[in-house]
């Protein structure tokens, strides 16, 4: 057999093996998510979360919310955070050297005054210029930190340094949290006895087109914009199916930066957020897990499937492309930083399953797909395509994708059922039909551009313009 024949053979079987493993993994994830979702709902169906809101025995929490040029919406965003149901709460807003009037608006809006506060730089950060508290007792939970600009990771590290409580909840300041979000998020920290809960992730849902008043979600509506609607389906798949299943086996590597709770001590000991990567949310979780594995201490990363956090998704290809580009760079950077984990039995499940899964099916997937598209184009030009096989294979893959989306939509209806109208569900399913031809190739392309940027050492966050929830557009 000639060398090129061997290469083609290896490629054929390699891709086939990859596809089979991927499809099997999705099937297993789907099955695992059903049992876990059912168990969660049954376990919590008569839990009285209100107990936590007022009990003096409840753990104290610090919310950390970095803000950069959020002047247009900051007053509303902070009001929303202050209205959350939890009595022993501290809301730390970190003004990351905003160039707009964000800090001044906070000072005026909440009657803030600079206080004497010693900041211990347990995690090295940019300089803190001042810490502010309100003169009004009604805003006693609020702490505003003004610092030199250093990026989101640096701002969060400052928040960790300044915060007073043992559990920190890191959020995006413009997210809308459900009123009982903290109560549900903290429960796993209190329930676990066999292992220390080092982090807990919550579900993030898309708030585009939803009715929001005074920083609260009034009515849930499926996004009218195609790209945002497609992301709604994507988030349902990722959060209700994917993370549910990974949470079940304690294999989660990612907790969304938009809403996640952490054990502060572990986060500090692991070194806090790393500002060298744009995927700081995933990187922290991986590092905290690695730290615990190296110590040999039992730990858990839990996951709450309740829809607790609502965020605005990009509605244009320009912004969505930047976001996916950044996610790709973040994943690659994180996996590269922790390459020691790759199939390393010392790190147990994380080394033997979670990391390799991310490596092959999250990090490499866009490259493999892109490579497939290029090969397809070349073979078409050379007239070497067996169209009969190609069409059959394409149909096979597309229908599997549809099946997974329909299953996710069913899980959504069977569990939290956020989109209750039949027309909304119909729109969601019809949108899913377009995914393989429109949304998915775009996302793959954006990820490939992420690789290109990574090679060219471009490490910017990329401007993320948000519309704001019925507000003047603000830039981030």
């Amino acid at each position: 057999m000639m060398a090129w024949e061997i290469a083609v053979l290896m490629l054929t079987y390699g891709i086939f093996l990859y596809a089979v493993t991927l499809l099997t993994a999705y099937l297993l994830i789907g099955v695992a998510s059903v049992g876990e979702a059912q168990k969660y709902l049954r376990k919590n169906e008569f839990s009285d979360f209100r107990l936590l809101a007022t009990s003096r025995h409840a753990p104290s929490i610090s919310i950390l919310a970095p803000a950069y040029n959020e002047g247009a919406t900051i007053i509303e965003n902070v009001r929303s955070l202050l209205s959350l149901h939890y009595s022993d709460l501290e809301v730390v807003i970190i003004n990351d050297g905003s160039k707009d009037d964000c800090l001044q608006k906070l000072i005026d809006g909440y009657d803030l005054v600079k206080i004497e506060k010693h900041v211990q730089y347990r995690i090295a950060t940019k300089e803190v210029r001042g810490v502010y508290k309100s003169r009004k007792a009604v805003y006693r939970k609020l702490v505003v930190v003004d610092k030199v600009n250093g990026g989101k990771a640096d701002a969060l590290n400052v928040g960790i340094n300044v915060s007073s409580n043992d559990i920190i909840v890191c959020i995006d300041v413009d997210c809308i949290l459900e009123q009982d979000a903290l109560l549900k998020m903290i429960k796993p920290f209190m329930e676990e006895t066999s292992a220390k809960v080092i982090a807990s992730g919550g579900v993030v849902r898309i708030a585009n087109s939803c009715e929001i008043r005074d920083g609260r979600l009034e009515k849930i509506v499926l996004p009218t914009n195609y790209w945002a609607r497609m992301q709604s389906l994507e988030y349902i798949r990722a959060f209700i199916i994917g993370r549910m299943a990974w949470g079940r086996i304690n294999g989660l590597l990612l907790i969304s930066g938009a809403f996640g709770a952490f054990d502060k001590e572990t986060a500090v000991k692991a070194g806090g957020y790393d500002h060298r990567t744009v995927g700081e949310d995933m990187e922290l979780v991986v590092r905290m897990r690695r730290y615990m594995e190296e110590l040999g201490q039992p730990y858990k990363v839990t996951y709450i499937p309740d829809p607790l956090c609502w965020t605005e998704a990009p509605e244009s290809t320009r912004i969505l492309g930047r976001q996916r580009n950044r996610w790709t760079r973040g994943s690659v950077e994180t996996l590269k930083m922790h390459k020691v984990l790759f199939f390393n039995p010392r790190y147990n499940l994380m080394g033997m399953l979670s990391y390799p899964f991310w490596f092959f099916f999250e990090m490499l997937a866009p490259l493999i797909e892109f490579f497939g598209m290029v090969v397809f184009a070349v073979l078409t030009i050379l007239g070497l395509i067996n169209w009969h096989v190609f069409v059959a294979l394409l149909l096979f893959i597309i229908t599997f994708g549809y099946l997974f989306s329909a299953f996710a939509a069913y899980m959504e209806v069977a569990t939290f059922n956020m989109y209750r109208r039949r027309t909304e569900m119909m729109k969601l399913l019809l949108t899913a039909l377009t995914e393989p031809f429109y949304f998915h190739p775009f996302v793959v392309w954006a990820a490939v551009k992420g690789y290109v940027d990574l090679i060219r050492k471009k490490n910017s966050w990329g401007e993320m313009t948000r519309q704001g929830f019925g507000q003047t557009p603000a830039k981030k």
Partner: protein
């Protein structure tokens, strides 16, 4: 031999089409299931509305009347009561009302629950082999004050299933108050922080009673029981437990030592010498906690000890030591130490701000 031909023999277009057809069929099945679910949920929604309006009528009557209320089940409701899911909804609605009221009216709510035959359902759930049905049965019976089920429920306070066990413990304390805590003596499973909080909140509503088994719990081999007993000692200021609490300060469990330190503050006027002895070997979190207790029960005698902690490399320890010094007449000493010390000066400013000095 493996070759490209073998591959295409295996992955034939026909097989792929069959696979695609299979996936497409499953997709269609899921879509149908989605719409069936939505339809069922909508029907249930309307059924709930109808049941709620009927129930509201009874409930308002039950809340207003001091005397027992007799209810008349309408044909509509009788129709709904045939389905377990609707019976469950009615039970849940009554429980929700029961949670938010007190006094004579609760008797009427319980009466409605019994008259509708929902108690029988709860007992059936209690006897189910499935953990989620059993725990729900316990919850319903407890919420509706069905004392006759107490013995049966008490059997599950040490159940292997955590949810069942927790509900049974909650019910036992709900029925018997402080006496219901007797399960702690034989508990071999963990009592997690959430469950401890639930029990403490339950007890919080009651007048304090004797806890004759408290010494036993404070020396329990179950670390969770020990921790919970320390909390009880703290909240209900069980001064007689002083020696046993001191013993807990030497526990291998960090959480127990921390709680014991907090409890000490509540049952004594002066910090015991052992706190200073154990300090050096403690974790940072426990060190901070010990210093917090000195801020409350410490005195001028403790200033040298606190002063020594200002040398700790961890600023959070220095801060707590400074706070304690400010409250133990040691502020002058602190200010002397802070001269030419940037960190202590900064900490000092914060403490002065906090104390309004």
């Amino acid at each position: 031999m493996i070759s490209n031909e073998t591959f295409f023999d295996l992955i034939t277009p026909v097989r792929l089409y069959i696979g695609a057809l299979f996936f497409a069929s499953l997709t269609v099945i899921f879509v149908i299931m989605i719409y069936i679910r939505l339809y069922v949920k909508k029907r249930r929604f309307f059924a709930k509305q109808a049941m709620t309006s009927e129930l509201n009528h009874w409930i308002s009557e039950a809340l207003l009347e001091e005397t027992p209320v007799e209810i008349e089940v309408s044909p509509t409701l009788r129709h709904y009561l045939r389905k377990p899911i609707h019976r469950q909804y009615i039970a849940d609605s009554l429980i929700n009302v029961r949670k938010n009221i007190s006094g004579a009216a609760t008797g009427n709510i319980v009466r409605i629950y019994e008259q509708l035959g929902l108690k029988k359902d709860s007992l059936e759930k209690l006897r189910s082999m499935r953990w989620y049905r059993r725990s729900r049965g316990i919850y319903e019976l407890y919420m509706m004050g069905q004392r006759e089920a107490m013995d049966e429920i008490a059997r599950y306070t040490n159940s292997r299933n955590e949810v069942v066990r927790n509900e049974a413990q909650t019910a036992t304390v709900g029925f018997n108050g402080f006496a219901g805590l007797s399960f702690l003596t034989t508990l071999t499973h963990p009592l997690n922080a959430w469950q401890q909080l639930k029990l403490l909140e339950q007890l919080n509503k009651l007048d304090i009673e004797e806890m004759p088994h408290l010494p036993q719990w404070l020396t329990s081999s179950n670390a969770y029981v020990q921790l919970f007993a320390l909390k009880l000692t703290d909240i209900y200021q069980q001064f007689a437990m002083y020696d046993l609490v001191i013993r807990c300060l030497s526990s291998p469990s960090e959480a127990i030592r921390r709680q014991a330190t907090t409890t000490i503050r509540r049952i004594t006027g002066t910090p015991p010498a052992i706190l200073k002895e154990l300090f050096a070997g403690e974790t940072a979190a426990n060190k901070r906690n010990i210093l917090r207790q000195f801020a409350v029960i410490g005195s001028a005698e403790d200033v040298p000890f606190l002063q020594a902690q200002l040398q700790d490399p961890d600023d959070s320890i220095k801060l707590e030591a400074s706070r304690a010094m400010a409250r133990c007449e040691g502020w002058d000493t602190f200010e002397q130490m802070a001269v030419n010390n940037e960190v202590l000066t900064s900490i000092g400013k914060q403490v002065k701000y906090e104390m309004g000095l």
